[in-house]
Structures are given as structure tokens and as C-alpha cells.
Symmetry: C2
Subunit: 193 residues, 2 copies
Amino acid sequence: MKLLEERILKDGNVLGENILKVDSFLTHQVDYKLMKEMAKVLADKYRSQGITKVVTIEASGIAPAAYVAECLDVPMIFAKKHKNITMTEGILTAEVYSFTKQVTSTVSIASKFLSAEDKVLIVDDFLANGQAAKGLIDIIKQAGAQVVGVGIIIEKSFQDGRQLLIDSGVEVTSLARIEKFENGQVVFTQADA
Amino acid sequence: MKLLEERILKDGNVLGENILKVDSFLTHQVDYKLMKEMAKVLADKYRSQGITKVVTIEASGIAPAAYVAECLDVPMIFAKKHKNITMTEGILTAEVYSFTKQVTSTVSIASKFLSAEDKVLIVDDFLANGQAAKGLIDIIKQAGAQVVGVGIIIEKSFQDGRQLLIDSGVEVTSLARIEKFENGQVVFTQADA
């Protein structure tokens, strides 16, 4: 997605070897206009497939996922990364390892929000090692629901998350795909939409 | 806001003495239609006041705050509850004590996103003891910016958060105000909008 790539080049900051900071429009400050444009592209891609739920994981996935859900006119569910006193029963969980934080956390969704009839589109802000999306797929499958696809804003294509998801039989649609960082600059490869 | 009160009565669950679970439309699964309606009401209330930023705190505040920001055509910033490897410098922080979790956490916003020219509307899903909103006000004031108001989806009016914020000179607009829980039922008092 050209608009997103241009925004990454303009406002993204490459930190160290493989970190892209996009906090001015996606992960901390949110540009709703860009979110809406991105959501339209993802929703159009999956509109014909009868999506019934959009699922993401807190926190940076929530804004883009909300707009995708709006475009598809379905509810959005955000998986919880942390234990919550009001989540008392009927919880589906998966263990998710974060390579950047080097910790394993338990991600959860209340089972009442997913059923065997659901066709789910996962939406997340970043795809790197794919562990978060894999955890969400695991949870959705526990509910007997179908994962129709994974919609990603920014994919680090030099990491193995995309292949991991494709190997598990799920289609990946990334709006920006980063081939590499070169001299502190982002180099894109062909995006999916 | 009548639509919200009706939804709370229909889909909210009272747990124990003072917990209201609204995970089917606000805090876990998100109903974008309701978010949009609520956002309109909050945005209309503050439209004339020259708001330049909407600030919330992850994670449940993000969806309503995004829609309020859209209605006001300004950026939305969500404060971080957890340390992040990409937040390396220029961070404004406040300590926030959670009575429910009985832990103090450090809430942060990158200083580059707030300036002395900003007029900020804080949006959050719940107001109970007011500690989260107080932390956000603290951060916004550190930046020299003005807090124009606090927009709340659900206020527990039997707790002292509202008074705490009013005492600090900030206007509070709550779309639903819960006077008490009686026999497992929600009893509302007059909302602000």
C-alpha cells in the first residue's frame, strides 16, 4: 500500500539492527485517517469471504482492527495479554513468546465470543516472528472457528513470521513488507495489497 | 446517554460488590456502532473548545478514543502502561495506582507528542478512583499542555474519581453514571450527556 509505505519512509525511524519505530502514526499516536484507508484495503480484500469477527491483540492492534471491523460491519475482539479480575471463566488461552521482550505471556479470549460458525480475520500492527498471530490462530481454532486470513500493517519480511503462518495454512495480507534495513533506511519488497 | 445505559442493562454483568463487566461491547469485544455513537456525543460536547489531541490509556480506552479523535479530526495518543524497547528517550511519566490490581504502574507518553499549545481531551472507558485519569492529567501538565476535559464511558459514581478530577480543575463528562449496584442490578444516576 503506497500511502503506508510513503508514511513509513517519512515518519518511521529505524533503531539499531531491526527495529522500526512508527509511534507517530500507529503504535503510540494514531492517525485515524491512515487507519481508515488501511482498513478499507484489508476489508476489501476479505469482503467476499463472509468474515464474522475481527480479532486482534492489545494494544497497538486495536485501532486498525476497529476500523477493519467497521468496514466489514462485524464485532472486533481484542485478545488480552494480561490477567484480568473480570475474566473468571470460559477463557481460551495460548502461550506467546516475545523475542524482543524475551518473555512468554498468556494471551486470552473469552470463549463466549467465538464459535464454530465464526470466520475470523486476524488484524495486527506488526508481523515479525509471527508468535502473536500464531497464538491468536491457536485460540481461534480451539473455539472451532475458521481463520480466514491475517491482515498485517507492517511485515518484517526478513523474519520468519509470514512463512510460519502460511505453513499453518493461513493467508497473510501485509500492507507494507520490509525486505531489509539498509544504512538506517527501510527497503520494501512488494506488498500484498 | 440512553443508548449506552440500555446496553449496560442488557449486556452488562455485575460481579460481586462493585465490578461491572461490559466485555461484550467495550472492554474485550468492541461494538463499533456504539463506539461511534458515544464518540459523537463526547466530540459534540467539546467541539467548540479547540481540542488538538485526544489522549487515552491502553487498552480498553483505545477504541472509543480513536472514534472521538476521528469526530474531532485530531490525532489520538494512547499512553503506555508497560515499558517498551522503542521508547528510549523523551518520555513523560506518572505513577498510577490500581486499586483493583493493587499495583503501581508507570504510565508514559513520549514528550514529542504533546506541547504547550495542545488542548487535550482525555477519553477513557471507566472512571472509578480516577487514578488513571489523574496520571494522564499529570503527564499532560508536565508537557505544559491544557486538559480541557475528561470524557468517560462508564463512571462508578459511588467511588471518588469524579470528585478527585473536579477538584483538580478538570471538567468530567460521563456518558453513563452508576449510582450503585443493588441486588446485582445497575442503578444509574443522571449522566452528563
